[in-house]
């Protein structure tokens, strides 16, 4: 019964469920081969595909220097070493859970309170999403997710758990807001295909949109979940990165104030310190569930991804320093707002619009006007130009399962001001060049049209999407010349 060579590994290991074979990693590869450096490699690729918060690390570092007792490796902290190094209880250090509960409440403007007994650790938010998938759904069952969504959810939620993610399509006509119609449509579609829907997964604030979900929509979701007895998982990993109005509303607040009658056994929050604090290296993921059985199960599963006790200890002290946290959140908000404003206004200068966002570490940039045609292929074409010619690693909307081609997520909180300016310069340069070329092509086409109007005109009338070889192909579909020709 020995298996053949091809079966040496499991299907999971041998397959593509990890998602890294996708062509979207080309951008990463380009960056890895030629990374931008302000001093040593100004011609390199600037990383704008990584949603990291590098704006406030100086504050955390300073706190760390001023509190050597928070580290068990220092003279001031070593007396705690034995207790901490030996501590592997999956309940977590009590002081860590309490500090985390306190912090989560503070981040949400104290409009909701969190019970430290419901705080469960996980291997980053990555581990949290996977654990919830294991707890809430069986293989083949599905969660509904509004598009566009964070690409790694496909790996985190589905790879090893075997569950499916089904899209709830959102569109630009209403700023990609999640509507009840879209939700119902997705739910019914799944049912028709015989797929059992076990839950809804939202990210609020949204990645990649950089917007927050309004109170009414959250209430609608909680109600829908209750009525259909399905789970609502809210990834609030960017809760502390809201830098402008409207004010952030967490699901924790909604279930206490707006929909007190909802079934709390269905409500679960995922959190992490990777974004708000810029500490992805410390691997701090949190599952906060209102369902006792889920807390118990997730806690057992946390054995597979506990937070290092050294890190728990450090954070327990930092997060319970309310004065520091208050100052940190305020300053972080200010810096994020400034960076966001600088970036989006820089884009506006060349007529590039963005979805109006007030949160997150990125911008949802609208480049639909630069597409050769309204297709995913054209988006990827443009994307490759941006990576290889403009040398910016941005993320194409289709990688986020966005249905409308032409949108790009651009991260801007993971670099210093100077690098940001270089990036803006390159974007502006590229856009202007593109506009000049388009204008030149229009004039060239105008000249050619006079010479051979019928054929070109016929071709244009037949289809607004022209072949690459045609001189008119560089016109965007919205170009007045295309309409004139047809």
């Amino acid at each position: 019964m020995a298996f053949k060579g091809g079966d040496l590994l499991s299907e999971k290991a041998a397959g593509d469920g990890h998602g890294e074979s996708s062509s979207y990693f080309d951008g990463w590869k380009a960056y890895d081969m030629n990374p931008f450096d302000l001093r040593h490699n100004r011609g390199g690729v600037i990383q704008m595909g990584l949603a990291e918060n590098q704006l406030t690390l100086d504050l955390v570092e300073e706190w760390s220097k001023n509190h050597p007792e928070a580290s068990i490796g220092t003279a001031e902290g070593v007396s705690q070493f034995k207790r901490i190094a030996n501590f592997q209880d999956y309940h977590g250090l009590p002081e860590f859970r309490e500090a985390m509960a306190q912090f989560m409440g503070q981040v949400r403007g104290r409009k909701a309170t969190f019970d430290s007994d419901r705080v469960v650790m996980s291997g980053g938010a990555t581990g949290a999403q996977e654990t919830l998938a294991f707890c809430l759904a069986n293989p083949g069952e599905a969660f509904l997710v509004p598009t566009p969504y964070y690409p790694a959810f496909d790996r985190d939620c589905c790879w090893r758990s075997g569950i499916k993610l089904l899209p709830i399509e959102c569109h630009s006509f209403n700023d990609f807001r999640l509507t009840e119609e879209a939700l119902v449509s997705a739910y019914d579609a799944a049912r028709r295909q015989g797929i059992r829907v076990k839950g809804i997964l939202i990210t609020n604030p949204s990645n990649p949109l950089g917007t927050i979900t309004d109170r009414g929509t959250l209430a609608m979701l909680a109600t829908f979940a209750t009525e259909h007895r399905i789970h609502l998982v809210c990834d609030e990993i960017y809760a502390g990165s809201v830098f402008a109005k409207p004010e952030y509303v967490s699901i924790a607040e909604v279930i206490e104030r707006d929909v007190p009658g909802c079934n709390r056994d269905l409500i679960h929050i995922v959190y992490s310190l990777s974004k708000d604090f810029g500490l992805p290296g410390f691997r701090v993921g949190i599952i906060y569930s209102y369902n006792d059985a889920v807390v118990a199960c997730a806690r057992r599963m946390s054995s597979f991804g506990l937070v290092s006790s050294q890190t728990q200890y450090f954070l327990a002290r930092m997060l319970s320093d309310e004065e520091f946290i208050g100052h940190f959140l305020k300053e972080s908000t200010r810096r994020l707002a400034a960076r966001h404003e600088r970036f989006t206004s820089g884009l506006r200068e060349v007529g590039i619009g963005c979805l109006r966002g007030n949160a997150g570490l990125f911008t949802w940039m609208d480049l639909r006007g630069m597409l050769r045609e309204k297709t995913p292929e054209a988006e990827l074409e443009l994307w490759r130009v941006i990576i290889h010619k403009v040398k910016l690693n941005v993320s194409p909307g289709t990688s986020f399962h966005c249905r409308e081609p032409g949108w790009f997520r651009v991260c801007h909180a993971n670099m210093d001001d100077e690098t940001m300016e270089v990036a803006l310069d390159r974007i502006r340069g590229f856009v202007r060049q593109h506009q000049r070329r388009a204008k030149a092509e229009r004039w060239a086409a105008k000249g050619q049209l006079r010479l051979s109007l019928p054929r070109h005109g016929a071709a244009a009338a037949a289809s607004p999407y022209l072949a690459l070889s045609s001189p008119m192909s560089l016109l965007s579909p919205q170009s007045p010349m295309v309409h004139a020709a047809s």
């Binding site: 590994l9 499991s10 570092e61 501590f87 592997q88 291997g123 980053g124 809430l136 054995s303 050294q310």
Partner: protein
């Protein structure tokens, strides 16, 4: 407007998954129940001297002072800047590369090699870092076994394997039965038998998993046994996972031999199986740092390393922990003196337990590693059965106040064996435990008789039972010695 809820004719769906509802996590087992009892009433020499003494947790608490001394000499450098002005803190805060901190992997590779007497070289690029051995074992299962595939595991084995290897992966464990007749060593016949049983159950066997040094036996696998196991997996075309997390606790002869050493000695013949042999390691036992969640998979199979590395995203090691340990493990003077002294202390505590038990007429499997002993208390059972074992266990936990682990929780086939940990308490507490046990033993008929015999020198005993039993007690006897 919410659409009308379509009423299900079937009964209301399960709110949680099957995995959440079942008990494959194994945490209803006695292993964990004893733990819970301890939590309710933990012994403390000052504040709770009548509480339950924890002897069910294989922790190494004997050598913290050495690590603390190192830290005092090498205070945490998190706040320092590198030569080029880059901030160490900042770098670590942002470092989430699943390939791991190079300095840490290099130091770990060297440390693992040191533990094997430098007879095996470890290539850092073949190391996958995971959040503890718990995560490493699960990830390996996800990589090597599909849902319903089986791994053969010699009994008795670590109770946590039921959770780590089966729960979320859907893999199966088929036990390889080992008995006290030959000191619980793995035999070819037992492996073949297990393989046949798996086939009968229509399970596809993907590999064998051994723990060497063994938990709960506390013994190192003899070289010949390892060679036999490698032959077996080579012949069957299946994997071998060797969990070597206790490799640094081998304090006595014949010493620890890693499966990788056996592979190295196999030379050219190893090529047929080298991409199917994988090692799991952790710093939880050897260095006594379970809280830091430091585990590793070592494999020369590039596809396994690649897949496991991606899976490690679900349980990476905190960068600040990698940084701290890179410095510690990179200090060769420290590791050399730590490893030697740590082993000496483990042996000392082991001997204290073994001698203490012997004085009250209780024997152990002769062991040379680990943080526990495999103790034979079968003569104290009222009936020679698992029910008898459970009854005895409950008495020991609730009446005697010692949380030891019953062999049945380790899937042992013979009732009456218990795993008793000794490295997670002070010598004084171990004394207290022995005194309590003595009182209990004296109160039982068989126990009292054995205790009286223990007080008499071995050579004056003439009855057959006593000879066999006495032979077990003398350190120079036993099947293990015959191997060298």
């Amino acid at each position: 407007m919410v659409s009308q809820v379509v009423a299900d004719e079937k009964p209301p769906q399960q709110l949680l998954s099957k995995k959440a509802g079942c008990n494959s996590h194994g945490q209803d087992s006695s292993y964990f129940m004893g733990w819970q009892e301890y939590e309710k009433n933990p012994f403390d020499p000052v504040s709770n001297p009548s509480g339950i003494i924890q002897m069910g947790l294989a922790e190494n608490q004997l050598s913290f002072d050495m690590v603390e001394a190192w830290l005092e000499k090498n205070p945490d450098a998190l706040g320092l800047r590198r030569e080029d002005g880059a901030s160490v803190f900042r770098e670590l805060a942002l470092f989430q590369d699943y390939h791991g901190l190079p300095a840490f992997k290099n130091a770990l590779a060297r440390f693992m090699s040191e533990q094997r007497g430098y007879k095996v070289a470890f290539d850092p690029s073949n190391i996958v870092l995971t959040a503890g051995a718990t995560s490493a074992n699960e990830a390996l299962m996800f990589c090597l076994a599909d849902h319903g595939d089986a791994f053969l595991i010699p009994t008795p084995y670590y109770p946590g394997f039921d959770r780590d290897l089966k729960w979320r992966t859907g893999a199966e464990i088929v036990p390889v039965h080992c008995t006290s007749a030959n000191g619980f060593r793995v035999t070819r016949a037992a492996l073949d038998d297990a393989y046949r049983r798996a086939q009968k159950r229509r399970l596809r066997v993907k590999g064998v998993l051994i723990t060497n040094p063994s938990n709960p036996l506390g013994t190192t696998a003899p070289r010949a046994d390892l060679e036999m196991i490698v032959e077996f997996v080579a012949a069957r075309g299946i994997h071998l996972v060797s969990d070597e997390i206790y490799s640094g606790t081998a304090f006595g002869e014949p010493g620890f031999v890693s499966v990788l050493e056996v592979m190295a000695e196999r030379g050219a013949a190893a090529a047929d199986v080298s991409d199917r042999v994988h090692v799991v390691y952790s710093l939880s036992k050897d260095l006594g740092l379970p809280g830091f969640r430091v585990g590793a998979i070592y494999s020369s199979n590039a596809a396994v390393v690649s897949a496991a590395t991606k899976m490690s995203s679900f349980g990476l090691i905190s960068s600040q922990t990698q940084y701290l340990l890179a410095a510690m493990l990179g200090d060769k003077d420290f590791t050399r003196s730590y490893v030697a002294e740590n082993k000496r202390r483990i042996k000392e505590r082991h001997d204290q337990l073994v001698d203490g038990l012997r004085e009250i007429g209780i024997s152990c499997l002769e062991s040379n590693a680990g943080l526990f002993c495999w103790v034979d208390m079968s003569h104290l059972m009222r009936s020679r059965s698992f029910a008898g074992e459970m009854e005895l266990w409950k008495k020991v936990v609730f009446e005697v106040g010692l949380n030891i682990s019953p062999g049945s929780s380790c899937h042992c086939r013979e009732p009456g064996w218990f795993r008793v940990c000794f490295a997670n308490m002070s010598a004084k507490t171990l004394d207290v435990a022995m005194q309590r046990l003595r009182s209990f033993v004296e109160s039982t008929t068989n126990g009292a008789a054995a205790l009286r015999r223990a007080a008499v020198p071995a050579r004056s005993i003439s009855c057959p039972i006593a000879i066999k039993w006495a032979l077990r007690l003398t350190p120079s006897s036993g099947d293990r010695k015959a191997e060298r």
